[in-house]
Amino acid sequence: MHERTGGMNRRGFLKGAAAAGALAVVPRHVLGGPGQAPPSETIAVGLVGCGGQGGEDVNSYIKNAGGSYRMIAACDVHEGRLAGARKKFGEHVYLYTDFRQLLERDDIDVVSIATPPHWHALVCIAAAQAGKDILCEKPMTRFIAEGRAVVTAVKRYGRVFQIGTSGRFGAHKSGHGRTIHKIMRSGLLERCPAVHIRKGGFPVKRYCGRVDLQPEPVPDNLDWDLYCGPSPLRPYHPHRFGWSHRYYWDYEGGSLADFAQHYMDPFQWTYGKDDTSPVAVEALAAPAHPEACGVWAWVELTYADGLTLVLDGNEWGPRYDRKPAHRLSLDDLDEATRKKVEALPDPEKPRSFVEAVKTRKPSAGHAEAAHRAVTIAHLANIAIRLGRKIRYDPVKEEIVGDEVANRLVTQPMREPWHL
């Protein structure tokens, strides 16, 4: 394994070179001549989680946003995946099996997190504590309290956070989307008559976990204890590792957890709900297994202002038919209100991660927005797992009148981990 060397970081090198009057002989790529991004604009990245999604976010949110990055280090609990990271990013990449060691590096600007979701919050928080900006794959968290802890850490340390989904950029481009956003944020609409139905796009059946897993020997190249991390230490089975981790409550939360963030990001931006959550949640689903995610038909979530959001799996069980879809428009307003809304300026364009890192302003997929979006999925899953309607206080971030449901909002972690 490529050992980390201590001492000199990138900024330290530049400072030293300037002081020594050595700029005249410094290579062009250091200064950033034509065709070369100067090192101050090249984002140094450490990757935690080298599986399927590992390294995708740096392309999506740095390279495709006009920035440049250099992968400095990678971490994974599986040695085979680590070796794959070196093949993908180059022999220069330092490799770690423990993210805590990666975070010690002071030559990393951004940590890109692509572990299974049960690790996302802890690595995000630790990255913020270590002074790194954060790219975090979706879903942001595994349970609701994790999201608030990440928001707190990002704010405390003034870090830039970007979730691994970008639907709001497209929502902003839509004229109708901008109009709805203006109506909702204007404060002029007392009750929202909109019914937003997301039908399909959730692989409900594929994301069902197996209930017949029998313990198998832990492979030599996998640190199973560290993989399980804050989640219960279950007997090893390959279906709990790799792509299929998505199908288990311990690591993710099925198709809702894996996909809702993609769909909720543009919805939330459009309807101006980045700072709040639904207050009532009801689901039609099969009885839920304690470990394996199962099938569900639909989930209806209602906001305090009346806005209704429906997630219809469109694969199993009956389809949602309580309310017809209704997209909010200026037609829902009286003439006077319509004119006021039309006079409002268009919402600001969502800020890219690269721009956010430069300006130190929130990125489009900032932590609060991402937390609220994934909270929708978590609330849906809580209603599914309990088989009953729940009411939620979006300010206290607690379920109202159901103490057992609150045990799913905040879930104590396995040692030595804590939020």
């Binding site: 504590q129 002074g131 340390y157 197996r210 009885p287 839920a288 297994h289 199962g294 045990r407 879930q411």
Partner: protein, 283 residues
Amino acid sequence: MPVSDPLKALMDRFPEPDANGTYVNLDREKIEAMQAVVADLCKGGRESVLGLIDMLAEPGKGDDIKPHFAFHLLAVHVTGLGDEKTRADFARAVASQIGSDRPKGVRKYLVQELQWAGGREVAAALGRALLDPDLCDDAARALAAIGDGAADEFLAALSKVRGPSRLSVIKKLAVLRCRKAAEAFRKALGDADADVRIAGAWGLARIADASAVDALLAAADGAREHWERINTTDACLALADGLQAAGRKAEAVRIWTHLRQTRTEHADAHVREAAQRALEAAT
């Protein structure tokens, strides 16, 4: 104990998983069958619960797919009836088996299910389970989730547990913001184990202990390893926030001022800036 024929017949009505080992195959009829089985189990009271537990197997030691699933559904069912007595009776029946000579894997599962259905009535049984290193982690998480009556169990266990179990107990006392554990948290700051030191720091921050300011700052300043340093520093900032919220502004300002003045390295700029922002917001 041999499982009764009526209970076996009841479980025979519970649907089987499909050939892939999932329950994708559930339809309305199968779901109604599941619900009926659970309702009958509930009516059967303690005898049914114990009989169902008899059908559970350790992972890898037998097929208990249906009783395992049915048991969980029963645990969730009793929490939604609005009938506190039924829930508590179920929980007590389950708790009565935690200290039995049943296989360890079965007892772990029972403890996990108490995290769903347990209340104060099972705190003592879970407290005893803290003393078993194989059950401690699950019992600690269950107790922390239950909350009511948990702190006393953790405090009682503190002097009796070692190693990972001790860390678990200290951490969960911090989860519960147990002020009676202040001395334990303070003592943990000087432990030989870095994880215990971090737990102590976190605990003092969680209870917003104003008398711990100097000790916590010293712990953060003196932490040699990066992981411990960032965690204890964060505990200092969290303590400051807690003190500020509790109206102890002077102590909070002392923490922020200290961090602003001492975190001079480039790598600590974010800590310095965090402290500066906090000071500006407080004035």
